[in-house]
Symmetry: C2
Subunit: 341 residues, 2 copies
DNA sequence: TCAAAAAATTTACGCACGTAAACTTTTTTA
DNA sequence: TAAAAAAGTTTACGTGCGTAAATTTTTTGA
């Protein structure tokens, strides 16, 4: 490593004994130059550790190598995991991902669109807030920037949608619960932020009726992204009022289930399938911590890998020039049997 | 909103009837132009919705308005929360934060330093991995970019360090546990990634001895960032081998405690202070989900607000030109009494 | 009202790179 | 080994903005 400081590509080209246009070509695509010159550049790179000024690069390229990744709420480990997987895929393909969180706030989400526009990204992968999202703003954004939506469906916005097959999730779980014990009632938020919740409710009703049972829904008041708190406090109330019409409770998602487990514990209700257990509780999503609840939560695992990969692949192929019409992909979940149900 | 598309500051200046240098001055500091011209610009801004090209801006400014925020592991909600709070502080002060996660990987962490260097940030707030971090690389980075470390202390690197007062955390908890029941043994990872863990162990020993009790430490094998899993699997083993020498277990942090609670549940050990409870378990950190464990976890709350604000304030004042010598600030925690101990 | 101060304008250069065109050198292929 | 193809060089312009200096216009204050 030499002490000489390289200030720009001109100096670096001189140091490696080449012209600037050639070096520029190398940085845009190392394979586009002759093997021998590539070696010379990489040798000089070792020696001087120069990197092109990203601001100058991005100013002059029509399209940057940036990719925006938006999730609705990064404090939710489910979205943190999505963000991480997608981030990795982008890097592996030579793109620079930037992760943004809407922090549960629709206005902030709309603001992120402007922030991303300024980045002039090659594409965006976005899990919208859902019902609260500014649909029109997102639609305008999608017209400007290639965008693939995931997790939460929003009309037919964007190039494509990739997310969980929610009806299949709930079908799988209801079916399992009915086979192994009393048919479940359904515990959910009254006004869910996320369209997935509505699909799960619908699927619950349909599956129950198909199996010849009467669906029973307990809706919890409260809004926002503090799902555990809602599951806990509204769960307590429901236990007090004996609102759960069944000894089996299927929650709309794991985070609500986590809160409900706490409520059940406080009420002295033993949860699980063992003899002596009063109720069964199941969730949906396979939250990273569901394995460590007491008892561990029976749930449906999202196929994070498949969802993130397919969303990324669609975006990537469009960026690389592929044509496509709007497409939706629904990824099946897997039943995770643990002690709670 | 006019349909005319403004391509650059030149056109925008023309549209607002001003010269480009004046408009440029406005964007660098709206207060630096006369009230009347400011109004004219903002009027045009409403009409044409122009934003300066950030790449051109950053290329020409000596210093950008970017701030890098690095956490060791974003899947850990504790760090997700830090990141969010700091992000908000940056935005409120007119800076553009970018959040990075080392994903628990020292090499990735070192790579982030290069990524951030390319951003030419005005400053960086970093919670390092700890023991596994490349100290020399971070030292070199700190020489180039104003950096404040938080959460995890690393020699005397950076402008300052702001983090939890770990000895106080443990003192507070040990004291409480001794006052209210059997003196605790200490459950921790044998080779903790984070220096905080060592300080907590040390403080545990000192406090126990001060109170006239014999310290007893149970070290769990395993490494990495899957703390819950380590607490769970090693906790099971410890219960089997009756390795815990006390009916009270103080865990090095909440995530280990969460795993241990699961192990205790599986072993049929009732946790808490009620009659009929076999053991007490306590954690440290006040993890966002500790409120919803079964039973809810007694712990020490980090003062997230204070730590993030102080770290940011130090960085901000240095960016704005203040001189300062290396400083360390240790923020006290608060005892959170819940049902587990 | 008039000079001083403040604010804007004009003009010009710099930043670090992408990229195109015309040309020269090197490599490949027959 | 010569011609064709490929790769590299030179030259030159464009990108969108920061910023400095000299000048002009507007505002302020006595």
């Amino acid at each position: 490593m030499s002490d000489v400081k390289i200030r720009n590509m001109e100096e670096f080209a001189a140091a490696s004994g080449l012209s600037r246009p050639t070096v520029s070509k190398y940085f845009n695509d190392p394979a586009s130059v002759r093997r021998s010159t590539r070696d010379r550049i990489e040798e000089a790179l070792e020696k001087y550790d120069y990197r092109p000024n990203i601001y100058a690069v991005n100013q002059n390229r029509k399209l940057t190598k940036n990719i925006g990744v938006v999730v609705p709420y990064l404090l939710d480990p489910v979205f943190a995991e999505f963000a991480r997987k997608i981030e990795r895929l982008c890097i592996e393909s030579g793109y620079s991902p930037t992760v943004f969180s809407a922090h549960g706030d629709p206005e902030h989400e709309t603001g992120l669109l402007d922030t991303m526009r300024a980045l002039k990204p090659a594409g965006v992968l976005m899990a919208p807030l859902g019902r609260a999202s500014d649909h029109n703003a997102i639609e305008r954004f999608c017209a400007d920037v290639p965008t693939v939506l995931f997790d939460s469906e929003l009309r037919d916005l964007g190039l494509a949608f990739v997310g969980a097959d929610n009806p299949q999730f709930t079908r799988l779980m209801v079916d399992y619960l009915c086979r192994t014990g009393p048919p479940p009632c359904f515990f959910e938020m009254k006004t869910p932020a996320n369209p997935n919740a509505r699909k799960r409710r619908k699927s619950y009703i349909e599956t129950m009726e198909m199996l010849g049972h009467t669906p029973q829904i307990v809706s919890a008041a409260g809004s926002g992204w503090g799902f555990e708190e809602i599951g806990y406090s509204e769960g307590l109330k429901a236990f007090d009022q004996k609102a759960f019409g069944s000894a089996t409770i299927l929650c709309s998602n794991d985070r609500i289930a986590i809160g409900l487990l706490t409520a059940a514990y406080q009420k002295g209700l033993r949860v699980g399938t063992d003899t002596g257990c009063a109720i069964r509780i199941a969730g949906q999503d396979d939250h990273p911590f569901s394995r460590y609840t007491c008892p561990p939560l029976t749930t449906i695992a999202q196929d994070f890998d498949s969802i993130s990969r397919q969303a990324f692949d669609i975006l990537f192929s469009v960026i690389e020039g592929a044509e496509m019409s709007h497409e939706k992909r629904f990824i099946e979940g897997r039943l995770i049997m643990r002690a709670s149900a």
